[in-house]
Symmetry: C2
Subunit: 511 residues, 2 copies
């Protein structure tokens, strides 16, 4: 969505005519390469020792054919990428180069594979973040890290990322050694885990991360199973609460280029809100996510074959229609499916404004003395949503809406003043804005103002993979951000009460 | 001898007050360190990932004592050194840092150990270059490398250097992990071997090295057994024939700062000649060395206990007085001892101008039908020098003198025009200029113009170790050098004939 000039991918291949040495040109090999690069417009290039070791035979591979070919040049293929400062030679010799964009979520890892020669996406895959074994919540993982489990927990992430990469490469018959770029976006804690950086101080006052702008690393340093010289770029964070995933999302939405304020809501385990334009960017975050992600419902599940992604219920709730990923026997429901379900249950009169089952609701069953709505029943499965689960969901949606409300009002705006509302997140198949508005989770503004993004963090990481010019733009975004502490807001609690009803006790607040 | 401003050693330790994080200062740890460095005048500093990983606990080590200490700062100890561009943090935490200067000769490795905190030399050690097992001559080693032995030969050097470092550290009870800098000077071929760079093209037309200015490496990259983050600086070469040892020697002599021309003769396996001043530097080299180094005499030996370093012979040669290193039973003679011996044999009338034994010479023995001069005889040893060995020596001294003569004349100068003649080299205990002039190996100019240097290559490497400001000066020297091809000179052969006599057939040529 950004309209930055694109000079080419983060890592790019280059074919260069390097003059062969001769009695009148005794320049050393590395100097000859640097001169040829400079002539082609690439200055400030560094050549690592291991590349210099491989250079002499590569430069002379056609030497025996020199007279036959009637050439005084050697055609050298190079892979180049950003170094600590300037450019760096990553590889020499003929080969196709690929890149991977990676979003590290607290729950899910998502990666996409690109051919960097033509910029085409080859494939995309996701997997669970294996760190979840040490707590669904990243804070639990930090606590366990402080108790001596750091290495184990960090290692789980490295291994999980490597398995995902191996899968992605294997499925597309590409050697991982041909992957020369990895762009990584994640929250501050997972980014620190990924880089092997200490996480202890991030969630503890005064909330200081080890690093805000990670150094551009090599895959060898991060232990990533791609070419050891590959560029590993981890998006910067802006303090402990605004992670690289948000910055990547802002990049993707292009908020930092907008003339008037737009809103960007990223719903993952946390709800993260960005409000701003090219002049200012304000970010806030709150823990409203687990319920929205489906974590509170016992049938909650991430998007994969067998997950319910969309729900339709007729009046009174007797008939239900489910969209199931891959059209197989359903096994659970994702976050966006859950929003659909609550919205449909409310519209069909199955639940009232407070989330209680109505008198004449259909498909109500009772399990262990608790009333529940039956989504699906077959010989193998019985899927239902209980009344307490609905209550918990409404608490989460109330928290999310209250965050939005307080956030927008705090800069003197109303929802009506906002030109666009980007809704992103790894909530299964993407939030259906109609449902979200219907239950009062998102503000009640004209539908066309909503833009659904899917995983904007991954999309931003992909953008950088294909456009190295965005490196400085990303630094600019990070520098613009102001973080607004949400949980300390006194207004929040009073708003929360009314927001626990569907859509709200005061519909005017939704505008 | 240089009078450059000294800003401090190549790698230096620093004590820095880094503000502790507080609710009003949530700057990330690496940024806080960079800000503190900038405030102390160190800009453009990079922090490698492995240092960032260790930074958070180091910055908070006194946190519990904060109130007691009444301090808002953490005192952080750092080791800093040159990075690819700018400065680099090499280590954090309290420790004394050391550095090693190393001269890699074709035959001998010489290293000196320095305390970088006070700049004092702690010790110096030497060892044979184990590559000699693959040929005394570096050209033989290159030939064998081209035949598939490269890895083995390069490895020998790495291992030899590492053994010398371990010895040097062990003898002084210093952990090799506290060595944070290594400056290395050697000829182009040995420098390439040390860095694992291909040597194949160096001695083959058009004589192109892989690298002229080696990248500043870490010890991890070069496989050197010191701290893995240590800075390894290899002096640049100026083409295939002018190695880092010459450039290091020029730095030490300060030739590039002289107002009028001076001559610098480095006698190792090769004779290397530098002529110049601050406006120009011309270097030439020729293979005249083996004999001078004692390599042709069967009793030739490098300087070590039991080696004859000085010789005095009375008239007619009947009485001989030997200086032996460590005053033990002599086992051989070094290069400078050999020059003394030939000079004394000539002065005492033992040999004539042509190097033949005279009629009435004393101490003449015959072995295997060859006449020889008896240096030493005891129950254990018999040391003698044969007439053919004297002839071979005179051929070498003639080659060396002819090089000097042609070289100096080629720029329109005579020996008399040259203000200083630096004589360096690993020829045992240093050439005695009186003896060298006496036999016509060095020009016959006033004795006070000669400056004896010992191992100037090692001394230059030591200078850099103690003064990082010399980095740019070294690049300046390398850029100034013109190489003059010696062996193609037609005048050389005609000069050589007369120079084979002692001191010369035409004494005027010595002036």
């Amino acid at each position: 969505m950004s309209n930055s000039v694109n000079k080419g991918p983060l890592v790019f291949s280059l074919r260069l005519a390097v003059p062969l040495p001769s009695p009148s040109d005794k320049t050393a090999d590395t100097d000859r390469l640097l001169q040829a690069l400079s002539a082609a417009g690439y200055n400030n290039v560094s050549i690592p020792l291991d590349i210099a070791r491989r250079l002499p035979p590569e430069l002379r591979k056609n030497e025996l054919l020199k007279d036959e070919l009637l050439k005084d040049d050697c055609e050298l293929a190079l892979a180049m990428g950003p170094g600590e400062r300037g450019l760096k030679v990553l590889d020499i010799g003929e080969r196709r180069i690929y890149g991977i964009a990676l979003d590290i979520g607290s729950t899910t890892l998502e990666a996409s594979l690109f051919d960097l020669a033509d910029g085409k996406k080859i494939d995309e895959k996701s997997a669970g973040n294996p760190q979840a074994a040490f707590g669904a919540d990243v804070l639990t993982r930090v606590q366990l890290s402080m108790m001596g489990e750091y290495k184990k927990i960090a290692r789980l992430l490295t291994d999980g990322v490597n398995r995902l990469i191996v899968d992605l490469c294997g499925a597309n018959d590409i050697s991982a050694d041909n992957i020369f770029a990895l762009t990584v976006a994640g929250n501050t804690i997972v980014s620190h885990f990924f880089l092997g950086l200490e996480v202890n101080n991030i969630p503890v006052s005064p909330y200081v991360p080890a690093v805000n702008k990670p150094m551009i690393c090599s895959a060898g340093e991060t232990g990533t199973a791609i070419n050891k010289n590959a560029v590993v770029y981890v998006f910067p964070n802006s303090g402990s609460y605004v992670g690289g995933d948000i910055i990547s999302g802002i990049l993707y939405c292009g908020i930092h280029r907008e003339e008037s304020p737009v809103l960007f809501v990223d719903v993952g385990t946390n709800v993260e809100i960005t409000l701003g334009c090219r002049d200012w960017l304000m970010v806030g975050a709150g823990a409203a996510g687990p319920a929205l992600e489906g974590g509170i419902a016992h049938i909650g599940k991430r998007a994969e074959p067998g997950t319910i992604s969309r729900v339709k219920i007729d009046k009174a709730g007797h008939e239900i229609k489910l969209d199931v990923i891959s059209d197989i026997e359903p096994a659970g429901i994702c976050g966006s499916g859950l929003i659909d379900l609550i919205s449909e249950m409310f519209s069909a009169g199955v639940i009232d404004q407070a989330g209680r089952f109505t008198e004449n609701a259909g498909r109500i069953v009772e399990t262990d003395g608790v009333k529940a709505y039956l989504l699906h029943k077959s010989d193998q499965t019985e899927l239902f949503l209980t009344e307490p689960e609905i209550k918990n969901f409404l608490l989460s949606k109330a928290a999310m809406f209250s965050f939005l409300y307080v956030f927008v009002r705090s800069v003197g705006l109303t929802f009506g003043d906002i030109g666009k509302i980007y809704v992103a997140g790894a909530l299964g198949c993407g939030i259906n804005p109609i449902s979200a508005i219907n239950i009062g989770m998102l503000p009640d503004v004209p539908l066309e103002r909503f833009v659904q993004l899917g995983n904007s963090s991954l999309r931003g990481a992909e953008m950088l993979l294909l456009n190295r010019d965005l490196l400085s733009e990303i630094d600019g975004i990070a520098a613009m951000i102001t973080y607004r502490e949400m949980n300390e807001d006194s207004e929040l609690m009073s708003i929360l009460q009314g927001a626990m009803f569907i859509p709200h006790t005061d519909p005017l607040m939704l505008k």
